[in-house]
Symmetry: C3
Subunit: 157 residues, 3 copies
């Protein structure tokens, strides 16, 4: 169940990243990289902070394939995806909730204090979007829209 949700979250974040890169008029390599870091940035930072290395996606190609699939989906369907913007925001929100829970699970698994687990869940969920915005030279959207914070923290609780 968690694995299925993880795949959904990765896929949606990859699309979110690819769309952002596209709007910034990056080249295709840049768009792919933004999709990659948006989808995997949070989990990667989480793994590094708790010392779970090599980080998760290095030992399971599934993630790379999903991101590639999300990337091509975005390139091909970007006009339709634009219209679905509100729905995408919905998926993004679901992704945040999922990734928060997964991050908390990982923290519990190594015996961290519940408060630290919530912090870890929030990092897992939000850092991908933060690094996406940093790379695109914007102040991270998560710091400017109340909704993200609310979703991520309450997803944790």
């Amino acid at each position: 169940m968690f694995e299925f949700l993880d795949i959904i979250g990765t896929f949606v974040f990859a699309i979110s990243g690819a769309l952002t890169g596209w709007h910034k008029k990056l080249d295709l390599f840049g768009v792919f990289i933004i999709a990659f870091v948006t989808a995997l940035g949070g989990g990667t930072l989480r793994d590094v902070l708790i010392g779970r290395t090599p980080v998760g996606w290095m030992e399971d190609l599934t993630y790379v394939y999903i991101i590639g699939f999300g990337f091509f989906t975005t390139i091909v369907l970007r006009t339709k995806l634009e219209k679905l913007r509100i729905s995408l925001f919905l998926f993004d929100t679901i992704g945040l909730g999922i990734f928060t829970i997964i991050g908390i699970e990982k923290g519990i698994a190594i015996g961290l204090h519940p408060i630290i687990c919530i912090v870890l869940g929030t990092i897992t969920a939000s850092f991908g979007g933060v690094i996406r915005d940093i790379l695109c030279n914007e102040i991270p959207i998560i710091f400017r829209k109340e909704i993200y914070a609310t979703v991520s923290i309450s997803g944790g609780i």
Copy 2:
């Protein structure tokens, strides 16, 4: 003694981060995150680079409490803190000195070369402010004000 200084440094950097976030008109969640990364960013990067994981603040809630305290202090007293700007800069400078020394200690403890220890101390002291400025979409202040560099390196020597 070191622990006491560490607490002072964390507290002052949390205030410094929260004030910066406030000026950037971030929402409260954003202000808290900036306080958090400013206070813990340097030590976190240091721990990750030397392989001391899970990183320090994950195993000791004290840091999170201090940052929460610094965050609320900033929200409540921000008008008064503005007037204390020069004093805050003084505290910030003290914080840099303290964190440099702590970073060097950690490097010595695992047997690194003295030059590397100074680099590690400088990373510990300055990276929190660097990541704060990156998140707020500014060129890090440490690269533009000679004073920071001087304090941090001479604190190390």
Copy 3:
């Protein structure tokens, strides 16, 4: 042979970083830091992601010396280096190729899947320049110039 190439790559990236910092009118400390992170950022991230800590440059002072040498070379010869811009771009390209190969080697050494090794090589080669551009508050050049991507990925293949 690899070690010699590694030294060349580090030296050229240090010059590339120092020149960028100089153009951004950073102070000397800032210029040095940009040289440092441009030269070592990619390898550092690679080592952290695969759990090879303390990261490479902490256990071998050679890298710090090379960067110091590149830094002073840039300060002294910057007018001449400006004229060599195209040649520098050539060296930069060579550096990207070298670092990609070194990154791939490290991945193979710990038994990662070939696709992941290429990703790791690309990270090693490009992240130094990415962090340089982030610190200088620019959208990373690698996302905007097709050439970098082509060089790095094909260097890997």
